[in-house]
């Protein structure tokens, strides 16, 4: 079985870097191959990196409330780029105002998992393992 590759980063022009650094380290410690794009990563760079590395998942961080603007049409762009099997996760403060429909809105944008801020990484790691197993990759 091939190594599992995960792309991480903070999407758009968001500078909040701490979350993605913690996520990247936790993934590495769990044995994943991590391509850490860091903060302020445009959506196109996530796609490019995923193509180049044949990645299995993307885990995006966002804290500045504008990710929804950045990610319009993102799933379609993934499909156009041939990334039809990639898992898409996002977590953080995903809207300007608090709202109950954040998860639904991001699932509509094509994300498989949507996490609130300060989620324990253990939860995301367990979800990732389950989702990869369901796809027969683990």
């Amino acid at each position: 079985m091939k190594d599992i590759t995960v792309i991480t980063g903070t999407v758009g022009v968001d500078a909040h870097v701490i979350g993605t650094k913690i996520v990247s380290r936790a993934l590495r410690d769990a044995g994943y191959n991590v391509v850490a794009l860091g903060a302020q990563t445009p959506p196109e760079e996530f796609i490019k990196a995923a193509q180049e590395t044949d990645a299995d998942a993307m885990i995006m961080s966002s804290l500045y409330g504008m990710a929804e603007l950045d990610l319009q049409g993102f799933k379609d762009k993934c499909l156009e780029a041939g990334l039809d099997d990639i898992l898409l996760y996002i977590g953080g403060n995903l809207g300007i105002a608090k709202s109950d429909d954040i998860e639904m809105r991001f699932k509509k944008l094509g994300f498989d998992r949507v996490y609130p801020p300060a989620t324990d990484m253990k939860i995301a790691l367990a979800d990732l393992q389950n989702d990869l197993e369901a796809k027969g990759k683990l």
């Binding site: 758009g12 500078a15 701490i18 860091g38 504008m66 603007l69 403060n93 300007i96 608090k98």
Partner: protein
């Protein structure tokens, strides 16, 4: 690679040539006319002039809140600043949105238009460049306060131009804050050059008797970490600004939760600023006061009770330390961009503490505080002296070399040029200590002190402190503790 930047004032002719490029970045640049702007600044009442407001507050023995405000629709922004003003807030930091900060002005325009169309803000701040001078003067004129806009490197020069022409009288010029938290790819030289432009713009006003203040934030700690690098880098920012003609600098003390350390820093920082400003010949630069700040980057409590607790801790220490202004976050910080109502609730609780605690003038002096002062002073002095040495007396050259060498370093920084080889944890009393010194030029006896404090906690907890302990401490405040709990204990 050859270092081109120098600690040297930009010639006026060169500066005026540089301005043309800055003002051509967006069509509202045409609204900025320097002579008119100087005239407008001179027409402002004292209540809109930042350093005068700070000095007045200090003379009156009061302290005030230093909130954040920024929402895209101008009518909403006016309502927000008026409501802050009605709460007795005379200093108004003014947040620009992230697209503006990154000079993505087409996107800011689209977000602004969508916000206006739907009546709901989709930008996380006020797009000051898109609004331009005429519109922003309306905001400045709408209330009786001194404005201080927030930006980061990419748009700093144009935001400064628009803001000062609109009557704002302070602005951070914190290039280390960009390296720590805002700019992924810029080199240290690019950051310094941008800061020199803003300093020179403020210097142009100062030559015409208009004093604009710069806040110095320094390299903001993105984790639990002693403040000596932050303070040393604030002072470097002040020195770079002063060379360009800035006459008023405003230190920021980041309050981390250890009362001895927080009070020690409040007391020693202005003295260290004065020492290095005078040492390098900037004797006429004033420090009108200081601002205390809830450490900007710790995770914030999710529940309202803990959030109030954290806010009022900060307010209490700031009041005991007799700072002039204090930044606290709002009770809904963990949920996103604060609402107007939460600003008001949060600030009423902080103001209650300010008014009740500060007037008591309770003298707090003990060996713990004095010890923290001595340690901070020794560390900051060692770091700054090494930076000056690296630059052969030129602080700009020294700063570039120091980041490259890890002589200046801070954990979890955004910028790819930072070494990121350092780490901190709390000791048993909750003070922040160095766990990994990286290449910081900390004197050996001070290093030994940190090692002892860490050994005490390791003994008490029966484990080695490491990266995970540092992260546990990082999350602790959001969970209602100062010292993190070991995940497996």
């Amino acid at each position: 690679m050859e270092i081109k930047v120098r600690q040297k004032r930009i010639d006026e002719d060169k500066f005026l040539e540089m301005r043309k490029g800055v003002l051509s970045l967006w069509h509202t640049g045409k609204e900025v006319e320097l002579d008119d702007a100087v005239g407008y600044q001179k027409s402002l009442p004292d209540s809109k002039i930042f350093h005068k407001v700070v000095q007045r507050v200090r003379e009156e023995g009061r302290m005030v809140l230093f909130p954040r405000s920024g929402t895209p629709i101008v009518e909403d922004e006016i309502e927000l600043v008026r409501s802050l003003n009605e709460l007795g807030i005379p200093l108004i930091p003014f947040t620009t949105d992230s697209y503006t900060r990154n000079l993505q002005l087409d996107k800011a325009q689209k977000g602004l238009e969508e916000s206006i169309r739907t009546g709901k803000p989709v930008l996380n701040g006020y797009p000051i460049i898109n609004h331009g001078v005429k519109t922003t003067r309306k905001v400045v004129e709408a209330c009786d306060g001194a404005f201080d806009p927030r930006c980061s490197r990419m748009a700093n020069s144009l935001v400064g131009e628009v803001a000062f022409a609109s009557g704002m009288t302070a602005m951070p010029n914190s290039f280390f804050a960009w390296i720590g938290g805002y700019d992924k790819k810029a080199t240290v030289e690019e950051c310094i050059e941008t800061a020199q432009y803003l300093g020179r713009l403020i210097g142009y006003y100062a030559d015409r008797d208009v004093i604009i203040t710069t806040d110095c934030h320094g390299w903001l700690p993105n984790g639990v970490y002693p403040m000596s690098v932050n303070i040393a880098t604030q002072i470097i920012e002040a020195l770079i600004s002063a060379e360009q003609g800035v006459k008023s600098v405003f230190p920021q003390i980041n309050l981390q939760g250890s009362m001895a350390q927080d009070l020690g820093d409040i007391r020693i920082v202005p003295k260290l600023y004065r020492k290095y400003l005078d040492k390098l010949g900037y004797n006429d630069v004033i420090i009108p006061g200081i601002v205390g700040s809830q450490v900007p980057l710790y995770p914030f409590p999710q529940d309202m009770g803990s959030a109030f607790g954290y806010i009022t801790y900060t307010a209490t220490v700031a009041a005991l330390g007799e700072v002039d202004a204090c930044f606290v976050k709002t009770i809904d910080e963990a949920n996103g961009i604060p609402t107007k109502e939460s600003h008001i609730e949060s600030y009423r609780s902080a103001k209650w503490i300010f008014d009740v605690v500060r007037q008591q003038k309770l003298e707090i002096d003990n060996e713990d505080i004095r010890q923290e002062m001595r340690i901070t002073e020794a560390e900051v002095t060692a770091i700054l002296d090494r930076v000056l040495e690296l630059g052969d007396g030129d602080i700009a050259v020294g700063a570039v070399k120091a980041v490259e060498a890890g002589v200046l370093d801070s954990p979890f920084s955004i910028n790819i040029h930072a070494k990121d080889q350092v780490l901190g944890v709390r000791d048993l009393k909750g003070a922040c200590r160095y766990l990994d010194f990286g290449n910081l030029p900390i004197p050996e006896e001070i290093k030994e002190f940190h090692r002892e404090k860490i050994a005490e906690r390791e003994k008490a907890e029966g484990r080695k402190l490491d990266y995970h302990a540092s992260l546990e401490d990082f999350w602790a405040i959001s969970k209602g503790q100062l010292i993190g709990t070991h995940a497996n204990s």
